[in-house]
């Protein structure tokens, strides 16, 4: 079970240009992160706290394959995303960069500011503000291990180092 984090709620079809605006793509990641989600909620980037949870509607992360869309959220301290559904490439990028993405039919029941914790292995989301629990698609153990390691590259690095040590 994750620590409890505050929900930031967004609508459907939040695209990669909203998450990582093209205008700032050439600059450093820190600048890009300052403008993350700015066009739909200018209060988000300046106020989001480490451990806060993003909650959204359908097709979250639709658009380009830019991995910076996940990296910006990660830099801001977001480690968990809950959405009705995720765009395909974004979903892969999210887990590959060590961020938990949970597809949840009931995402729409979560209100801004609700205190949320998740259990990705069991596929459970708890809303401590309302006392509700929601089901989500669970993440299998080996993917969770990758996420906990920090992402795909870090996970492979660890596995390869272990193999070397075993030899």
């Amino acid at each position: 079970m994750s620590d409890t984090g505050k929900a930031w709620v967004f609508g459907d079809d939040i695209d990669t240009d909203v998450l990582a605006p093209g205008l700032y793509m050439k600059g450093p990641l820190s600048t890009l992160a300052e403008h993350c989600l700015e066009s739909v909620d200018p209060n988000f980037a300046p106020n989001v706290q480490k451990g806060d949870v993003i909650v959204a509607g359908s097709n979250f992360g639709i658009g380009s394959s830019r991995e910076q869309a996940v990296e910006a959220l990660k830099l801001l301290g977001v480690r968990t995303l809950v959405a009705k559904s995720f765009a395909g490439i974004f979903f892969r990028n999210t887990l590959n960069f060590g961020v938990v993405a949970l597809a949840c039919e009931d995402a729409g029941k979560i209100r801004p500011g609700d205190q949320i914790s998740t259990n990705p292995a069991k596929g459970k989301i708890t809303n401590h503000s309302t006392g509700e629990t929601y089901n989500c698609d669970p993440l299998p153990a080996q993917l969770l291990e990758m996420v906990i390691d920090g992402g795909l590259v870090e996970h492979l690095e660890k596995k390869l180092a272990k193999k070397d040590a075993d030899q």
Partner: protein, 425 residues
């Protein structure tokens, strides 16, 4: 309960009896395809960081197409780096400047029904026309595949698109998929598999099936599958590949689909997508008369041999308007050779088409043929996002090769049936 074709391929790759939508599995990758833009230059830093090499060089195909031929020192350096990387990594399946990856891959016999394939490009669903589960991945995912030979997948559900009836004169697979883009919407099949079925599909040649699978990407689909049949086997055998066992790779009659969309092919007219989205598609009549400064026949979507035949059938005996220009970039060098041998190239160039190298060219704005501010182009490519083909204020309309050719003759968007025998007058 039966399985869809996609579920069967994923289950096999995962070493399971069966999988269902939502299941996370780890799959063995049968083939990994990369191009010069998203390939070695992006994955090599990760492989270097991990201090490791490619898991199985025989299962990797590298194709240069985005920066060919190089137009500046930067693109030349990218190609140079790519060539050195394939040598260092022992990759024999390397096609340098031979054409666009999604067309070259099956043309050289690399695809067989039932394969689980990853491609470092968003139009990787094209491979689904051969009954493969092929999907696009980013650089991090690709590096993971190159190191381990496998990748994780969340099994997608399948949407069926059942297409029946005879296509009319001057109407093609491109018109079917543009119609679907308007109907289902960009992202309407997000993270789903689109499986095309029906007698129209069964009667289409492989190149036309590839157009349907290719633009499944525009629907947001992970893959765009068409079950293999005799047409598939014949194509693969001619390409020197392994036709495998098509009977094994079919959806079960009682498979579960997320949705089924029926398309009446006989009722379709030529379609055109207005800027800046393929979903802005409508029958050509709605855009008739829009002046075009450039007509472009190119890309993995719209410059295969049959695409060139379509364009030639319209252009034969006509001239490109002196108000516009027609650029022709056949999708591969083999297509150029075949079109030269069968007289298609002569028909096109005599009409005034300007022959360009085989590669992505103007499609994504990397190569030659890009647009100035406010210029308008009608194109046989897959995407018309703002600024993709050049200046930010340029505008791209998408149409079939027939429609692009007809518009080139008229200098404005035109219904190709006006130029085709048996069509409306």
């Amino acid at each position: 309960m039966g399985s869809t074709l996609a579920e069967k391929i994923i289950a096999k790759a995962a070493g399971r009896e069966s999988v269902k939508p939502g299941d996370f599995v780890t799959c063995d990758v049968d083939l990994a395809m990369m191009h010069d833009s998203g390939g070695p230059r992006r994955v090599n830093p990760i492989l270097t960081r991990l201090g490791t090499k490619v898991w199985d060089p025989d299962k990797v195909v590298v194709i240069t197409d985005h920066f060919v031929p190089p137009v500046d020192a930067m693109s030349a350096a990218i190609l140079d780096m790519t060539r050195k990387w394939v040598v260092e990594n022992g990759i024999d399946n390397f096609y340098d400047m031979q054409g666009i990856c999604h067309v070259v891959l099956p043309e050289r016999g690399h695809l067989s029904p039932g394969m689980f394939v990853v491609g470092g490009d968003s139009h990787s669903p094209t491979g689904g026309a051969f009954g493969c589960f092929m999907f696009g991945v980013g650089a991090t995912d690709m590096a993971g595949v190159l190191v381990t030979g496998h990748t994780w997948v969340k099994t997608p559900g399948t949407m069926r698109v059942d297409i029946n009836g005879d296509l009319g004169v001057g109407v093609s697979a491109k018109d079917i998929i543009l119609h679907l883009c308007a109907r289902i919407g960009m992202g309407g099949a997000e993270y789903q598999v689109v499986e095309y079925t029906g007698d129209t599909v069964a009667n289409l040649p492989m190149t036309e099936r590839m157009t349907l699978s290719n633009m499944a990407a525009e629907l947001g689909a992970q893959a765009g599958l068409i079950a293999a049949d005799e047409t598939t086997s014949a194509y693969i055998r001619a390409a020197g590949g392994d036709a495998g066992d098509p009977a094994q790779w079919q959806s079960d009659a009682d498979a579960t689909y997320l949705a089924t969309h029926a398309v009446d092919a006989a009722a379709l007219t030529p379609y055109v997508a207005a800027p800046h989205s393929p979903a802005n598609s409508a029958p050509v009549d709605e855009h008739k008369g829009v002046v075009v400064h450039q007509a472009y026949i190119g890309a993995c979507t719209g410059a295969k041999l049959e695409d060139l035949h379509m364009a030639a059938s319209v252009l034969k005996g006509h001239k490109v308007s002196n108000q516009t220009r027609l650029l022709l970039a056949p999708a591969s060098t083999r297509i150029t050779a075949a079109a030269a041998a069968d007289g298609t190239l002569a028909a096109l160039t005599e009409a005034g088409a300007i022959l360009m190298p085989s590669g992505c060219g103007a499609c994504a704005g990397y190569g030659a043929g890009i647009l100035a501010e406010d210029e308008v182009c009608i194109s046989s490519t897959a995407r018309n996002f703002q600024g993709r083909m050049g200046a930010v204020s340029s505008k791209v309309y998408l149409g079939s090769p027939y429609t692009v050719a007809a518009s080139a003759i008229a200098g404005h968007i035109t219904d190709p049936r006006e130029f085709l025998n048996g069509g409306m007058a």
